[in-house]
């Protein structure tokens, strides 16, 4: 069942074909019918073997490709011009579709870049006093206006208030910090400045480090010294004598 989603990573048979064209480094205007058909069928067969749910579009395309391949194997009737003009070359039709599709696939990439850029810009909610009742008259809004406003809101940032940090500290375990700090202090031959033990800017890590130091003091694994009021604190491994 998990494999079902795999097909999503190719956006349909045209996408798969573009992938193959790139991989085989062949000319989109001169697709070798036999080679591309074999490769394509190999993919579709593999999907079957892996018990993927092959969407019908893939099978339709497979049929088209097989027709294209068999046509390319037939003797060339191009001398009979009237007959030749009557039906469109399936290869040309496929090329046309691939080029059309590729155009939008590229546009999608450009949109994605813009979308990412947009996520770096933030605004603030409109002030409560503004945009008061718009008066009488029929309401001319749609559900899409509401969804649009909702999206705008989700793009705004709500700043984390300090009290949330204490909830999050559990993510970094105090035990882990105790180990790290003890190792640091043992390796340092001399007392370490208290501040130097707090290298991170992550609030939860700072909190974990602080709790770890308290715990180590309690367990008499480290000693904290201070020369006088407001003087620097130094930490050294080993308990009080």
């Amino acid at each position: 069942m998990e494999y079902k989603v795999k097909i999503d990573s190719f956006e349909g048979p045209l996408d798969l074909l573009l992938h193959l064209i790139n991989k085989l480094e062949i000319d989109i205007y001169d697709i070798p019918a036999a080679e591309i058909t074999n490769q394509y069928l190999l993919y579709v067969n593999t999907m079957h073997q892996l018990e993927l749910d092959v969407a019908s579009e893939y099978l339709v395309m497979a049929a088209t490709l097989i027709a294209m391949k068999s046509r390319s194997l037939l003797p060339d009737h191009s001398s009979d011009e009237d007959e030749y003009l009557e039906e469109e070359d399936p290869r040309e039709e496929l090329t046309r579709r691939l080029i059309e599709y590729k155009k939008y696939k590229e546009a999608a990439i450009k949109l994605q870049e813009r979308e990412e850029e947009r996520t770096k810009l933030f605004s603030r909610p409109p002030a409560d006093v503004l945009f008061a009742p718009s008066g009488e008259g029929p309401l001319n809004v749609s559900i899409y206006d509401m969804l649009g406003a909702f999206q705008k809101m989700t793009r705004r940032k709500k700043m984390a208030v300090p009290r949330q940090a204490t909830v999050r500290r559990e993510e970094i375990s105090v035990e882990a910090r105790m180990e790290v700090l003890l190792k640091t202090l043992k390796e340092a031959k001399e007392p370490v400045l208290f501040e130097d033990l707090f290298q991170s800017n992550e609030r939860d890590e700072l909190v974990a480090s602080f709790l770890a130091l308290l715990e180590l003091m309690k367990q008499n694994e480290i000693t904290v010294t201070q020369q006088g009021n407001f003087a620097d604190l130094y930490v050294i491994s080993g308990g009080k004598q």
Binding site: V5, T46, V129, F131, P133, N201
Partner: protein, 194 residues
């Protein structure tokens, strides 16, 4: 970018709730006193710069960016003009939150929006799109709001079940797909070798 620039960005995006010097210091990687000095200096400059329309003020431990009180009449004038749209974004946001979370208190709506929501709620109630739906348990027993039949009407919905789902969980499907992509190509290559 300068500390001033970053602080302006932070205070602007923080909205009405403001930020403490500690919060700003934690992301700026400077000490709290430095932040305080920079912010106080900025506030001073803003106050005297006639081309600027905002100030920074301190409430308790939080610094907040606000419009200058000298310009209040212009904002009031803007507030008095009817919105060119039939519902403002503030009202639409509020409506979306109520529609998808009903019944819900004003506090909960404000929590999600990060801004006071009295007026949008009054607007929506006046337009008959939302109504009171009892009271919540707990302190103060605040009013609960829910959407009305008129809401369904206005947005051409048969029922609340017709509200489009808000998230599709696309990312995780994409990731699963990517994860599998490698395995699939491997299998392909093996078959090709046979």
């Amino acid at each position: 970018m300068t500390n001033e620039s970053i602080i302006e960005s932070l205070l602007f995006a923080a909205g009405d709730e403001g930020l403490s010097a500690e919060q700003m210091a934690s992301v700026l990687d400077v000490d709290v006193q430095t932040v305080r000095n920079v912010v106080e200096q900025m506030a001073e400059t803003l106050l005297h710069d006639e081309t600027r329309g905002v100030t920074i003020t301190k409430y308790g431990t939080e610094y907040r960016m606000m419009t200058k009180k000298e310009n209040a009449s212009f904002i009031q004038a803007l507030a008095d003009k009817p919105s060119p749209k039939t519902l403002s974004q503030a009202a639409l946001e509020t409506l979306a939150i109520i529609a998808y979370n009903q019944p819900v208190t004003r506090m909960e709506v404000e929590d999600i929006r990060g801004v006071k929501t009295e007026r949008p709620i009054a607007t929506l109630a006046a337009r008959g799109l939302i109504e009171e739906a009892g009271r919540a348990e707990g302190a103060g027993r605040p009013i609960l709001y829910a959407t009305t039949n008129e809401f369904l009407d206005a947005f051409q919905l048969n029922s609340l079940d017709d509200l489009p789902p808000l998230s599709e969980g696309e990312v995780s499907i994409q990731q699963e797909a990517d994860l599998f992509f490698g395995r699939f190509e491997e299998a392909m290559d093996e078959m090709a070798e046979e």
